[in-house]
């Protein structure tokens, strides 16, 4: 149907389709995944958003109900005002919840998604590893995942401390990125993966890291390109 398009045009058309929101289902999931794992493609999507931006002039205003602002305030009230304090508070809570173990906790800011838990299939004892890295000499995260007990261990190198925090994502083959929460800038970290997430840790899935605003909850979707990524290999 698009036999006249070159591969480069195909790629650019896909970026435009994602920016416009034309895709659905698997095609949308694939394009979102590509935008996370391929910075060049992500830049093409952003370029299309910018090209179409003048259309934003044309929306018709509408007044939302007052409940919207109170809902926003309620959500913000749950978070401490200062974003740096926020992460410390969260870490204290997590420690209290025995979610994290040992001295590595300070290096780690994992947030777990709470969601209905499907019963995972009992997996054969297996080890999975991933080398999450960038092309250039940048950040490097080594991940080791024990499929028998769900323990994920990270060794984190090379992130510059700043206003953004590294957030770890698992991207199943053909699926959309799922946040595993934010991690520290350096050092070692570990967490026991919640059962729904264990199902995603399969051979061929990708682990990727994006730099995101510090958040008390995992972001539903990455807002920027991956700074490092790597495939999960089971051994």
């Amino acid at each position: 149907m698009d036999d006249h398009l070159t591969p480069a045009e195909e790629r650019d058309a896909l970026a435009a389709e994602l920016a416009l929101g034309l895709l659905e289902g698997q095609a949308r999931a694939d394009a979102l995944r590509l935008s996370l794992s391929d910075p060049e493609f992500a830049a093409q999507v952003a370029a299309w958003e910018a090209k179409l931006a003048p259309l934003h002039d044309e929306w018709t205003d509408a007044q939302p109900g007052a409940a919207v602002w109170s809902g926003i305030e309620r959500q913000l009230a749950d978070a401490p005002a200062d974003k740096v304090t926020a992460i410390e508070t969260r870490l204290r809570r997590w420690r209290a919840g025995a979610l994290l173990s040992g001295a590595v906790a300070a290096a780690l800011a994992f947030v777990l998604i709470t969601q209905p838990v499907p019963t995972p299939k009992p997996a054969a004892p297996q080890l999975a590893v991933a080398r999450i890295e960038s092309d250039a000499a940048g950040p490097l995260v080594l991940a080791r995942y024990n499929q028998s007990n769900g323990l994920m261990q990270l060794r984190i190198h090379g992130f510059e401390p700043g206003t953004l925090a590294p957030e770890l994502w698992v991207i199943p083959e053909g699926g959309t990125p799922v946040s595993l929460g934010q991690i520290g800038h350096a050092g070692e970290a570990e967490m026991t993966m919640p059962p729904p997430h264990r199902l995603l840790m399969t051979e061929g899935a990708t682990l990727a890291i994006t730099m995101e605003p510090v958040s008390k909850t995992p972001h539903p979707a990455p807002s920027s390109v991956a700074v490092a990524s790597g495939k999960i290999i089971t051994i």
Partner: protein
């Protein structure tokens, strides 16, 4: 009725929204009405940029300011794409939480604040529309309910207030075939998928994809020509 039959539905006429949205212009709007934007688009943009920057530093009062300045615009986006108020209000709430979380990434040198915000709102509304919940809610809406929120007023003085890059996009859109242009606009303003557009136009999915993809690439060539 096809995309081409809905032209009026794609046009908005709210002067406030357009003024707020003007990327760069020295146009003065004094005396147009009594809103806070009457001192001019540059000033509005500067105020919004300052407020958004403050949000990026964790200033909650500034978030309220951003909300007051932009909620009507962003709700207009959510309502148009979601098609009904309750869902649109839910989406709007998540949009401002995203704004709170991401404001630190806003770069005034790269994007106008209202474009940055509108993109978050539109993407949030499209995410909802593509979600299971969104599809279920929309299945219960009367046929074409989304168009009930559309405005059928013509766009009278768009060219007077739109900045240069806007004029260029409108010129290049104007060079597309009517049906292609209107389907691209339906995708943008209604959040329609290929499948929905193909059904509306009563053409095979592949034909619709081909129209839009070729149209988008032609658009890019035109914009690239400057």
């Amino acid at each position: 009725m096809g995309c081409a039959g809905r032209r009026a539905a794609f046009l908005g006429d709210d002067a406030g929204a357009r003024r707020l949205n003007i990327p760069v212009t020295s146009l003065r709007l004094d005396g147009v009405d009594g809103t806070q934007w009457s001192s001019g688009a540059d000033e509005a943009r500067a105020q919004l940029t300052a407020a958004l920057t403050a949000v990026g530093r964790g200033d909650r009062a500034a978030l309220r300011q951003v909300y007051d300045m932009t909620a009507a615009k962003l709700f207009g986006i959510c309502l148009r794409i979601c098609g009904e108020r309750a869902s649109a209000e839910d989406v709007l709430q998540t949009v401002y939480i995203k704004v709170w979380e991401r404001a630190g990434q806003f770069d005034a040198a790269r994007a106008s604040p209202i474009t940055w915000l509108a993109t978050i709102a539109r993407n949030g509304a499209i995410d909802w529309r593509r979600s299971v919940a969104g599809r279920m809610v929309r299945d219960t809406l009367p046929e074409q309910a989304a168009f009930a929120v559309a405005d059928d007023s013509p766009l009278a003085d768009q060219s007077l207030v739109v900045a240069e890059e806007g004029e260029q996009l409108h010129r290049c859109m104007g060079e597309l075939e009517d049906r292609t242009r209107l389907c691209i606009r339906a995708a943008f303003f209604d959040g329609s998928t290929y499948a929905e557009l193909a059904e509306r136009e009563n053409v095979p999915l592949g034909t619709m994809k081909s129209w839009i993809r070729r149209g988008l690439l032609r658009l890019k060539d035109c914009l690239g020509d400057g």
